[in-house]
Amino acid sequence: MIVVEALEKIYSDTLAVDRLSFSLEAGQICGLVGKNGAGKTTTMRSLAGLVDPSGGRLQVAGHDVAQEPLEVRRKLAYVPDDPPLFDDLSVGQHIDLIGGIYQVPQFRQRGEALLGEFDLLDKQAVAARALSRGMRQKLAVCCAYLYQPTVILLDEPLTGLDPPGIRTLLKSVRERAAAGATIIISSHLLAMIEDVCTHLLVMHEGRSQFFGPTAQFRQQADQIQTLEEAFFASTLDAAVVEGIA
């Protein structure tokens, strides 16, 4: 479903992603973790077609991102951190817009179901500008789920969500993966996502430090119990890890 081969991205004076390769199958959920500036968002944006990679090849749902961008966009949903919305439009109008763009049959019913799931049903007439950070995040996720994409990229989706919202989102992620979607979640809240992710991609300074099943990541060192500890072990100096232990 997702194939990344030697992805490279360079900004004016920074190499953001350096020969990154990984692949994910249908139904897999990959946690994308790393320090700030590790290249997580750039990787997601490259997959979404929002930035052109400087090098490498990307495939989403069997389509080449550079060669067949429209096919990729039909099958992919990307929800960035603090998603920008049309501040003039209401919650319901956002659903209408996305339903119209993706030609979703019966999008109103489906939209209402999603808004109900994320506790936004009574906000349908509220303008996006009046929504809290968490509500904006939920609305963006509803819009992304509306057209049932086969690949979902969620960048820091838990930031700003209340505990019920986090639970709903993680449950929805599991359900969509079970239905065959491939999902990448980038998050710093490792404890929150560790039970959801089947795979893990740890990035450091634009490179992959680890890619594989989550269980394998934990097994790398005997004394490591949590994903958080494993993350520190793979990205920080040994001295820092000792300090934490």
Partner: protein
């Protein structure tokens, strides 16, 4: 209409509807009601005058009108070329983050997004075209034909702007440098032609009517330049629009012109798409070159690390900033604005150099008149009030995205406003001092006079920026915001400023007459000058207080524009 286009049209209609409703609600809100009424009253008086002036003047001959229209549109294209050369590149068709995510990242074909950008500007284009049609109704034989031509021409102009900015966004550093040379060279040649023509038209001495006469000459010179053969050769693509606007009946040539207009709009859409493709390829090519440089061991940093060479280059500026004292919080705010000034220094220089030269014209036209430092001061006051605020947007207007953190700072509203406008005011005062000193070198005046004028001008600088920021905080907008509300806002602000200018002139005249009749010679001048200083500075400080009040009352939950 295809399904994607219908969706985009619905989006635009909903956005316009929501904005109109919101604008209406905001104008009716208690804190904006008074300034709105204060501006609407003169606007209501001005509109019949505008209509009467447009209808009662003698009609222009059709040949001249034809040339003015096509030449005027060409000059406007050159203006956009200069902007594109010097402004920050407008990538991704200038879409907002929301548009980029939900439209740019969707399966909508790219051409529909270019069309979307064109449809967004249709409403303001209709409004501008309406104004122009009213203005030209006396001259055009078939007003409805002129309306079609003007709407199509303005829409084409907007698409050309999009094309130019898209093209410029894909240029390399060297390409941008060449574009700057080309655009600035063309603009300078046009400006030189206009000034030369205005100078050649000039007769008589520089008296109290001279500024008005000079402005009229400049407009006439602008018309002559637009009608000039060199500009007309460049204006060939706009000839059919001008032909249509000045036609008396519809025959074959008019139908052909209409077809040309349609073809041009379609062609511009295609060209913009092509330019975007070329820009992307160019970017990618340069990126790959940088990547190759990195692989070969040249300087590029890794993710999360800054290049040492870049840190070295940035450090001295950061060190200079820390030297500003705290001054109740004004210092740090001004330091931040200095960073913005540093970034836009070339733009600021060009924006102020042109009015500087124009202000000095009364003296440089010495062979034709007897301009004095007073004439230069008049010009400077005019440009300070009219041109300095748009040229130096280093205040609340550029900080629209970070008003929340600004509001969270532990600063009193007055300190906040002073800190925000300190740098643009200081730059404007520096500009005034330089121009006045050049004028004094040619026409020497006493030091006391110079101090008086500079102190008065400094007051106008404080007033101009305090007023601009007070208006912005009462009626906020984004820097590159377009649409019907911006169109109406610009017109009303212009009328409001014009009224203030007229009232200030009237007050000064009354004060001068009062001093002349009441006081004898030894005390007359000091009282007159003292009164002017008190008047100017009390207005400036009051406006500063109003801006501080507007900042205190700024509601981050509801006042931020979409």
């Amino acid at each position: 209409m295809s399904a994607p286009v219908a969706v985009l049209v619905r989006l635009i209609l909903r956005q316009y509807g929501a904005r109109l409703r919101r604008t209406g609600q905001r104008l009716r809100s208690p804190k904006r009601l008074l300034p709105t009424i204060l501006v609407l009253i003169p606007a209501a008086l001005w509109l019949p005058y505008f209509l009467a002036a447009a209808w009662m003047r003698p009609p222009a001959d059709l040949q001249s009108l034809h040339r003015w229209l096509s030449g005027g549109l060409t000059l406007y294209v050159m203006f956009h070329l200069v902007r594109a050369a010097w402004q920050a590149p407008e990538v991704d068709l200038g879409m907002s983050p929301a548009q980029r995510l939900w439209l740019g990242c969707s399966p909508l074909p790219r051409w529909t997004l270019v069309l979307y950008k064109a449809i967004v500007v249709l409403v303001p284009t209709f409004l501008k075209a309406t104004l122009l049609c009213v203005l030209l109704a006396r001259d055009t034989p078939q007003p409805w034909l002129a309306a079609v031509a003007i709407i199509a021409a303005l829409l084409s102009l907007e698409l050309i702007r999009l094309l130019i900015f898209t093209f410029a966004s894909g240029l390399s550093q060297r390409g941008t440098a060449w574009l700057r040379v080309l655009a600035t060279g063309m603009a300078s040649a046009i400006a030189a032609q206009v000034l030369l023509r205005a100078s050649l038209r000039w007769h008589g001495t520089w008296d109290h009517t001279a500024p008005v006469r000079f402005v009229m000459h400049v407009f006439a010179a602008l018309g002559e330049t637009a009608a000039d053969a060199s500009v007309q050769r460049l204006a060939i693509i706009f000839q059919p629009f001008a032909t249509l606007a000045t036609s008396e009946s519809i025959v074959f040539f008019q139908w052909a012109s209409m077809l040309w207009a349609l073809a041009m709009i379609g062609g511009l859409l295609v060209l913009t798409l092509r330019a975007e493709g070329i820009a992307r390829v160019g970017h990618l090519k340069r990126e790959r070159q940088r990547l190759a440089d990195f692989r070969s061991g040249r300087t590029v940093s890794r993710a999360g690390q800054a290049d040492d060479a870049i840190i070295d280059r940035r450090r001295p500026h950061g060190e200079r900033l820390r030297h500003l004292p705290f001054w109740g919080g004004i210092g740090p705010l001004a330091s931040r604005q200095l960073v913005t000034l540093r970034r836009y220094r070339a733009m600021v220089f060009v924006s102020l150099a042109i009015p500087g030269v124009l202000s000095l014209l009364p003296i440089w036209l010495g062979g034709f008149g007897t301009g004095t430092v007073l004439d230069v001061i008049g010009g400077l006051t005019f440009y300070t009030l009219l041109l300095a605020p748009p040229a130096l947007k280093m205040d609340f207007r550029r900080d629209i995205e970070i008003l929340l953190p600004l509001a969270a700072l532990p600063l009193r509203p007055l300190a906040m406003v002073i800190g925000q406008i300190a740098v643009p005011v200081a730059v404007t005062i520096l500009f005034q001092v330089i121009v006045v000193f050049i004028a004094m070198a040619v026409r020497p005046v006493s030091a006391l006079q110079a101090v008086f004028w500079l102190t008065t001008l400094a007051g106008t600088a404080v007033f101009a920026f305090a007023l601009e920021n007070a208006l912005f905080l009462a009626f906020p907008h984004r820097l590159k915001q377009e649409g019907i509300e911006m169109f109406i806002r610009t017109k009303l602000v212009f009328i409001g400023k014009g009224c203030l200018w007229a009232v200030a002139t009237a007050v000064l005249v009354v004060w001068a007459l009062f001093c002349a009749r009441t006081f004898d010679q030894p005390v007359r001048l000091p009282v007159l000058a003292g009164g002017i200083l008190v008047f100017v500075w009390s207005i400036a400080l009051s406006t500063l207080g109003i801006a501080a009040r507007a900042w205190r009352r700024f509601d981050l939950r509801s006042d931020l524009p979409a």
